[in-house]
Amino acid sequence: MAKTKVLERKPLSFAEKTFLPQIVTGLKTTFTSMLQKGVTLQYPEERPTIPDNYRGVPTLVKDPNGREKCVSCQLCEFVCPPKAIRITPGAIDTDAEPERAHVEKAPQEFDINMLRCIYCGLCQEVCPEEAIFLQDIFSLSGYSREEMINNKQKLYELGGTLPDKHFKWDKKKSAEAAGNAH
């Protein structure tokens, strides 16, 4: 354990006791800062550069083939601290989308209440399918509470397509097609 060293406080000089020199120094500081260039961005015209790891509005993304990635595992709904996410899971209609039948599950409805969302990014972190991303949209507004609930369609509009590296379900499908050596 480090030994505590007690330092004697230096007694104030007369000038220091009046505080006037300090005030003058302070005035100098504020005056110099007044002459410096401002850092304000003229917001609607000038836009800030958004870093890649920015946590903006959560969105749903599609894979490079334009297919839905979310399988409605509801982990994001579970992990969401303010309970902003609400998912109604459902089965994929195998007749409508035979090429995705092997994925089996997809969200019927996927609502994110942006009045509740705290942009913590836990949903993105927890997503096992890399389907939900907090992207660079930082300004979101609406006229009603209902408008602030992003439904599945809106989430996909905001999300777009992100490059996918693992092609998990494609691999799964080709393995299924290849079958066993048996």
């Binding site: 982990l75 899971p89 399918e129």
Partner: protein
């Protein structure tokens, strides 16, 4: 294996701790008895099924005290303590029975290594599709991989491909890739359900669970295979992709399908029930229940649900409705058509109402064929409750007809009928006859009787209220509120108190269910004074049935109930009262 029936206890040593266990118990159960959350991980072993020993997950190290082979003398170490001869390889806990002096290690390096190896092998061909698997959250494989697995895969070869999304039966979907070949479902179908339809085909890593050709898993217990499946191979087609289990609140309840009174768990989220599963009660239903009992909750959201208190079709408050009912009942010449679907507490109130209004009480039987397992002949959950509360003294007629009541209506002896949850038009009383009398209807759903009723009192379903049922073996079992009822509808006994109390010129008391129990305990001989509703044990309390042994109940022998044996044991009053005292 019924643990209670084994009396002889032996001492074994589990992880250095001496534990007293019944003789012959296997190591998995013995370790469970140590408590403190100690368990031997296992997949294929199920307490209510035969031991198969094929998952190899429950490996433990076992040793016996050493004895000299020649003389049989104990071999002692330098401290004078008998040496333990540990077996060189681990053994499976499920098929190893405890014997005196046995030593068990459940957490040694060797045991951990073997669990690790088993988990790795099980995961080799497992698809790892937890995100889309319904079992996630209650999956033994998921839990044990996290606890005992290595965390990454060394398997670089191609995984096996097996049939997915196979329909095994009308209610069960199979995903063979997830199957770990524990054979629980096969054993269940064969041993409990008695419908041997499942089996493995192919060999080695290609082994696949399937139905025998031309068969399907369609018996009324098929969803139990889903319950006991330790992984997501067998899933309920109804519950498939509906909701994650970790969102669901579990409430203990009782199945209302028949007088068996299977113990259930209701899984609900935000006032919506998603599924019903059995709850273990070795005296009632083991760990099983019928498929048909699992869908009864769907009536909650049915369109013909009664949700408004009405007088002559006009919406009224509960107090106005109760006052109208009281007025009708005070005029006397009342007939009460009670229900064996009501809880004990409600029947207790109906008994008071009948007594105070001088009503003739009739109860309608709902008999059908039983299946000898968990579906008895009496398709009501609480016929015994009506007897115990004194609402009726004789069993209802086998044929569901109200001939006596019909005569009374025609003769004008009855002016008011108080109907509980029955459709009189199906019981021999036509609408024209109902028009001659005033009808008070209490029920959950609309029917032709409620349509013509003068006073309609909506009632709550069993999932929406607290209460108790008395099952075929006179066992009082408690059910709790899982979801809220329709908006504004009070729990039944609150409404009945508003009717019963004014009939006796009493003040309406704000009652809790424990208050109702206090009243019942003071009036009903079979209820032990020490019991309160909120303190009822989860497994229920067996009542003294000696007063009702002369009645000719319709139940035949089923899974846990043998009417002949029951009569014999209940006839010895000393023994039964002792049972009550201990269980209370």
């Amino acid at each position: 294996m019924n643990i209670q029936s084994i009396v002889e206890n032996i001492t074994i040593n589990i992880d250095g701790q001496d534990v007293e266990v019944p003789k012959g118990i296997n190591i998995i159960e013995a370790v469970k008895m140590v408590g403190k959350g100690k368990e031997v991980p296992h997949y294929c072993y199920h307490p209510k099924l035969s031991v198969a020993g094929n998952c190899r997950m429950c490996m433990v190290e076992m040793g016996m005290p050493m004895r000299d082979r020649g003389t049989g003398e104990p071999i002692l170490d330098e401290n004078g303590v008998q040496k333990i001869g540990w077996m060189p390889k681990p053994t499976i806990g499920c098929a190893t029975n405890a014997s005196p002096g046995m030593h068990i290690r459940t957490n040694s390096e060797m045991v951990k290594e073997s669990r690790n190896g088993v988990t790795e092998f099980l995961l080799i061909n497992h698809p790892l599709d937890c995100p889309i698997c319904d079992q996630a959250g209650e999956c033994r494989l998921q839990e044990f991989s996290a606890e005992h697995g290595r965390g990454y895969s060394r398997f670089i070869e191609k995984k096996n491909v097996k049939p997915k999304r196979t329909t095994l039966g009308p209610r069960v979907t199979l995903d063979d890739e997830r199957c770990i070949l524990c054979s629980r479902c096969i054993r269940f179908s064969k041993e409990v359900a008695g419908d041997d339809v499942l089996g493995f085909v192919d060999r080695g890593t290609y082994s696949t669970l399937t139905c025998f050709p031309g068969k399907e898993l369609s018996h009324n217990y098929s969803l139990n295979t889903v319950d006991i499946c330790p992984v997501g191979a067998l899933t309920s087609t109804d519950f498939r992709f509906k909701m994650r289990v970790w969102f669901l609140k579990r409430t203990h309840s009782i199945c209302t399908e028949s007088s068996v009174g299977a113990n259930t768990e209701i899984w609900s989220r935000e006032g919506k029930i998603y599924r019903i599963t059995p709850r273990r009660n070795d005296a009632v239903n083991d760990t099983w229940m019928t498929d048909s009992g699992r869908v009864l909750y769907k009536a909650i959201e049915s369109d013909d649900r009664l949700t408004q208190y009405t007088i002559e079709g006009v919406h009224k408050t509960v107090d106005e409705v109760a006052a109208a009912a009281v007025e009708l009942l005070q005029a006397r010449e009342v007939a009460l058509v009670a229900s064996a679907h009501s809880s004990v507490e409600e029947q207790f109130f109906y008994q008071s109402i009948a007594q105070r209004s001088g009503a003739t009480v009739s109860l309608v039987s709902h008999y059908a064929e039983g299946d000898g397992l968990l579906l008895s002949e009496d398709r009501t959950p609480n016929l015994r409750g009506a007897l115990v509360t004194g609402l009726i003294h004789q069993l209802p007629e086998r044929e569901a007809k109200l001939e006596a009541l019909a005569r009374d209506i025609n003769s004008g002896a009855v002016k008011t009928i108080f109907v509980v949850n029955e459709d009189l038009t199906k019981l021999g009383i036509h609408k024209e006859m109902l028009a001659k009398v005033k009808v008070i209807y209490v029920g959950t759903h609309a029917n032709e009787t409620s349509e013509v009723a003068n006073v309609v009192i909506p009632s709550l379903m069993v999932y929406e209220k607290d209460g108790t049922f008395i099952n075929q073996s006179f066992r009082v079992q408690r059910f709790k509120t899982a979801v809220p009822g329709p908006r504004g509808v009070l729990s039944d006994f609150h409404v009945l108190e508003r009717i019963a109390a004014p009939l006796a010129q009493e003040k309406v008391a704000p009652l809790s269910i424990d208050d109702v129990w206090e009243r019942m305990v003071s009036r009903i001989a079979q209820f032990d004074a020490a019991i309160r509703w909120s303190a009822l044990p989860e497994e229920g309390v067996a009542l003294d049935a000696s007063a009702f042994l002369d009645l000719n109940f319709v139940e035949s022998k089923n899974l846990k109930f043998d009417p002949v044996a029951f009569k014999e044991t209940s006839a010895a009053p000393a023994e039964t009262s002792a049972t009550i005292a201990t269980e209370a």
